[in-house]
Amino acid sequence: MANHSARHIISLLMENESGALSRVAGLFSARGYNIESLTVAATEDPTLSRMTIVTSGSEAVIEQIIKQLNKLVDVVKVLDLNDGKFIERELMLVKVKATSAFRDEMKRMCDIFRGRIIDVADGSFTIELTGSGNKLDAFIESLDKAAILETVRTGASGIGRGDRILKI
């Protein structure tokens, strides 16, 4: 079994019931699996939630994670997005210092990364940025650390390309 650890994005559909999220979170902590991020919300069918878990592990570990997730009684379907082509996106909100001297510079940086300024205050902008995790990291790195007042990230959401569809 390959011991090489790789980042995987796992999508799953589960019953939208109280406690379902903690079953998944509990599984990861109980078995010592990594969670980089976990996002969850109801789908267009309100009885189902869709969860995106970003994790990392060897091939064998990922195989076990998928099997263990499938074993949870509330989990309807599991898909390792890395098994095919997929798109991932993450949303970040960043509040940055935007005092007179920096206001234009901030606006430019925001444009370069195709972000949007969604709130403007006397000394600050709030920028909305969407993209892969790497892109969001790159934006943060390109800013002067002292200019960052606050950041919040959603964690990645993923979806298969084309006719790769996760649905019941």
């Binding site: 079994m1 406690g19 099997k67 074993k71 009684v73 989990v75 019941i168």
Partner: protein, 573 residues
């Protein structure tokens, strides 16, 4: 389907659900949050409620009822401490995949989250050690939830399912309607194995030079014993079993090499290490079975694995031919293939393989030095086997006595050996014996235990008196926590840290205080007579305190981190 337009209470609905499921026994202990349920129990007589003396014992007894019958065990506990006391029993059943439904009371819905008296987050606490659990928030959901609970517990890889019911819900009124079937879109356990894989597996087995079957608890739980026997006999290949699988294949058969693993036989462990094709059936390659994984894998072999749980496959060891399915169904398919195809085997190679196995068997690794001075624990088990003609249900606790019972009782039938394999819970022995004796009132039930384990649930002597359970306790009393002492002797230079049991009670008097028969046996020559005398008292609970050799150890033994072929044998010392 039970239908009535009359509205009844949630508690009554719950009882009706248990009737629908043909529950014979509910093991439990009352308390505030389950008072409505207990009142409903008072008004019925279809199942018998067994009042234990501690909730942990209710769980173990229900668990053993299930292990010995194959039916779902049912336990009922109150909220808070009732539920937390039950956790050890739930985790024990979970580790060994035992189908159970546990009903726990909860504080009323309006008080949940307010730190009410005897409140705890039972669903949260038990989540990691149940197959599934439910919190019922509406009286209308009780019947459907109970139906799901029994279905989930018993299907697929079985396991305990907990249903937490707030007190107010058990008082609310509703019509009773028990669903005829369950459909869970998120839960569809596989039963039939893939025929292509089964064919591939059979081809490997018949072409093998050194084939071997490694059978586990799944064979017992899946009632696949007859199919396994047929397969092994028609292929004529050697077989070993895990602790949990004992009885799945008759120990008295020449093809049976004994238990494998940490305290497995020399022949079983050597054959496991040196086979070229291994068929694992309902077993999970755990650390106590294969020892050091790297060492195990250092000998190349092709591994076929039949298991109902896909996550058991390639979990610790990479499997070459996985077959996900119910072991009984897969073995039946294999047997059918053999019957129709009559595949030719490599009989010369097989004969050579058995010859090699016989040389390993020739080591007689389970021989022990008999003594005229001290009672040897192994001797007690041998005599127990003889006197009960190998027909008894044997429950055990956890430790040296458990290993000796497993090694020397030679189980020929499944569901006769009842012990905590996965979790290794001390204290299960006596409540296990209760569950077994209630399920099989006319059977001989022996609880093989030690003076350490028995004291972890000694209060159940009272339950045994209340229900007149004629259990025979075979206590191997070496005044040590024997297995701990054995490890301290081997790995901690005889520093017996806290493993000596001082201030033991007078067990004879203790048994008598509960109205039982107590016996103390100190001389080897008295062992046989005492056992005969005890088992002759068919209607009495007999507590036998065997004062055994303090220094006896369990052999063979694979030390932690060592491989299967690196056993320490009694003769090496």
């Amino acid at each position: 389907m039970e239908q009535s337009s009359k509205k009844i209470t949630g508690a009554e609905i719950l009882i009706r659900c248990l009737h629908e499921e043909n529950v014979e026994f509910v093991f439990g202990y009352p308390g505030g949050a389950v008072l409505h349920i207990y009142d409903a129990i008072f008004h019925q007589d279809k199942f018998k409620h067994i009042l234990v003396r501690h909730e942990q014992a209710a769980l173990h007894a229900a668990d053993a009822y299930s292990r010995s019958t194959g039916k779902v065990g049912v336990a009922l506990v109150t909220s808070g401490p009732g539920a937390t006391n039950a956790v050890t029993g739930i985790a024990t059943a979970y580790m060994d995949s035992i189908p159970m439904v546990i009903i726990s009371g909860q504080v009323p819905t309006y008080a949940i989250g307010e730190d009410a008296f005897q409140e705890c987050d039972t669903v949260g606490i038990t989540r990691p050690c149940v197959k599934h659990n439910f919190l019922v928030k509406d009286v209308k959901d009780i019947a459907a939830t109970m139906k799901k609970a029994f279905y989930v517990a018993a299907s697929g890889r079985p396991g305990p399912v907990l249903v937490d019911i707030p007190k107010d819900i058990t008082a609310h009124l509703c019509k009773f309607e028990y669903p005829e079937s369950v459909n869970l879109r998120s839960y569809n356990p596989v039963t039939k194995g893939h025929l292509g894989q089964i064919k591939k597996a059979l081809k490997l087995l018949v072409e093998a030079k050194r084939p071997m079957v490694y059978s586990g608890g799944g064979v017992v739980l899946g009632d696949a014993s007859a199919h396994l026997i047929k397969l092994v006999q028609s292929l004529g290949i050697p077989i070993t079993s895990t602790l949990m699988g004992l009885g799945g294949f008759p120990a008295s058969d020449q093809k049976f090499l004994g238990m494998l693993g940490m305290h497995g036989t020399y022949e079983a462990n050597m054959a496991m290490q040196e086979c070229d094709v291994l068929l694992a059936v309902g077993a999970r390659f755990d650390d106590r079975v294969i020892g050091n994984t790297a060492h195990f894998l250092s000998n190349p072999r092709t591994i076929i694995h039949i298991d109902i749980d896909p996550s058991s496959i390639s979990k610790r060891v990479k499997i070459d031919v996985p077959i996900v399915g119910d072991v009984k169904s897969v073995l039946a398919d294999m047997n059918e293939l053999i019957a129709t195809e009559k595949p030719a085997q490599n009989s010369d190679a097989l004969a050579a393989w058995f010859k090699k196995i016989e040389t390993w068997r020739g080591k007689k690794c389970l021989n022990f030095a008999q003594s005229t001075e001290f009672i040897k624990p192994q001797y007690v088990i041998q005599k127990l086997h003889e006197i009960t003609k190998g027909e008894a249900f044997v429950t055990s606790d956890v430790g040296q006595h458990q290993m000796w019972a497993a090694q020397y009782y030679n189980f020929d039938k499944p569901r006769r050996w009842i012990n905590s394999g996965g979790l290794g819970t001390m204290g299960v022995g006596l409540p296990y014996a209760m569950g077994v004796q209630l399920a099989h009132p006319n059977a001989q039930v022996a609880c093989v235990t030690g003076e350490g384990s028995i004291q972890m649930n000694i209060q159940e002597l009272s339950t045994c008196a209340q229900y007149h359970l004629p259990i025979k306790v075979i206590m191997l009393n070496n005044r040590y926590l024997g297995m701990v002492r054995q490890w301290q002797e081997f790995f901690y230079e005889n520093r017996y840290s806290e493993s000596y049991m001082d201030s033991l009670p007078d067990f004879v008097k203790l048994a008598e205080a509960y109205g039982h028969v107590g016996m103390q046996i100190t001389k080897p020559e008295d062992v046989e007579g005492a056992l005969k005398e005890a088992f002759a008292m068919k209607s009495r609970f007999v507590f036998m305190d065997f004062i055994t050799d303090q220094k006896e150890n369990v052999f063979p033994m694979i030390q932690n981190g060592k491989g299967l072929s690196e056993m320490i044998l009694a003769e090496d010392l």
